[in-house]
Subunit: 247 residues, 2 copies
DNA sequence: TAGTGGTCTAGACCACTAT
DNA sequence: TAGTGGTCTAGACCACTAG
């Protein structure tokens, strides 16, 4: 038996192996607890070196798809409690992943001078120009969140001329400005809805709200966006996957 | 110049390099934005192969200490907004890391039969015996959180005979039962304090509460604990670091 | 003892970036 | 053109686990 790879492809060999295995796991062809081919077997099957097979298994491990036990083997991990683990996707992609239809209503779109906090978050100088967007986020036409976002103007000229109600902000940043989101910091806290939030989300005053403050960065650590999202607590939970990064 | 490693040590060479660099970054000897030695330089300095140097840099990258730009080099990342990024530490370790003095008061310690939800979370059968602990968590002697935890009895015989007020649960699990926490899933939501929570935390009824539900697993994916922690929203925020795991 | 994952070597070619 | 990170090879020895 062998598993042929496309050696002419631009896609690295380890990434091809990673994809093949991930698909098998997601299709349940490799069930939870089942053994995955060992590093040496996989190398033989795919006609690659063991280090390359190992790299594929390592990335699957870091994503939580498999786990490894020394002296025993590599096995498919149990499915996570909630597959909607928080990642770098934007609202649009996240809602689609949950099988909901996302939409947006722009409440505010302005250019402002950055205050000291926003400037610090974005790594720019206070007084530099920023876009300030406020949007109501809906899922299946029901209000889910109120969003308050700041982006540096100089990195995204004319961003405010794009159609942010029709198109995903993250998609525009990628296709128009070539931005690849790389990592983000999120701070979550709980609060009670004030008048403004309650009205926007059509909930009672003082209803519980989950605030997610996210700052997104590119690989070279330039801040792309600082955004606070106020979610209705009765319709949204945030799921995270934590690993022991001790390597 | 060279950076000698201890080749007789049990600690892998790449981990030694990782530690040296991490310490330099944390001591600010390597400042944000500064170039880290390239993979080839580092290999030469430490007298290791390039792959080993690369492994050290990769683990630093995955922890967010450095970033790499193809064709340019490796650089120290800006310090994260909040160094208290959520990790696998328990309450005791987390509070100490924040410079606060943690303490606990046990409100309940019982053996029960697992209900269907708890059983599913722990990967055991409904009706199997579980420990049920409720603790009040204090930081600097002020109530911070109410905690509701379940652990499978068969994996931790006599756990309820240990002193959970004096010692960290995670420490006991490690030293007595040899458990190494490996990964966890967390679901965060916002709510309002009910009578019981409000009384325990000495806050007003309906004050905002951040609920963190965590299930911790070992490397071989056995559930160790399912715990819901109800934090006073005015005294606690949760910080996460997200990466684009596309490798 | 045979097989596993963990670590390590000493090379190699590639695409990319800066000068 | 020189230097960088990204990928890949074909080996090696180790500690660990199971039968």
């Amino acid at each position: 038996m062998n598993l042929p790879l496309d050696r002419a492809s631009q896609v690295p060999l380890y990434a091809q192996i990673h994809e093949k295995l991930r698909r098998q796991i997601e299709r349940d062809e490799l069930k939870a607890g089942a053994a995955v081919p060992s590093e040496r077997e996989l190398a033989e099957l795919c006609k690659v070196s063991r280090m390359t097979a190992r790299q594929a298994l390592n990335s699957l491990k870091s994503e939580g798809f498999v786990y490894q036990e020394r002296g025993i083997g590599t096995f498919v991990a149990k499915r996570k409690l909630d597959v909607h683990t928080r990642n770098l996707a934007g609202f649009t992609e996240e809602m689609r992943g949950r099988g909901l239809v996302p939409s947006s209503k722009i409440l505010l779109s302005e250019r402002e001078r950055a205050g000291p906090d926003t400037a610090t978050e974005l790594g720019i100088n206070a007084g530099d120009e920023v876009f300030h967007f406020q949007r109501l986020r809906l899922a299946d036409d029901l209000p889910l969140a109120f969003e308050d976002a700041y982006l540096p103007v100089r990195r995204f000229p004319d961003l405010d001329k794009k159609n942010l109600e029709k198109e995903s902000l993250y998609k525009i940043l990628g296709s128009v400005y070539g931005i690849v989101m790389h990592h983000a910091e999120e701070v979550l806290e709980a609060t009670c809805a004030d008048r403004k939030i309650a009205d926007a989300l059509k909930i009672k005053l003082k209803s519980p709200i989950l605030i997610v403050h996210r700052v997104v960065f590119t690989e070279s650590n330039l801040a792309v966006e600082s955004v606070r999202t106020f979610y209705r607590a009765d319709r949204y939970r945030a799921t995270f996957f934590l690993t022991n990064n001790a390597v």
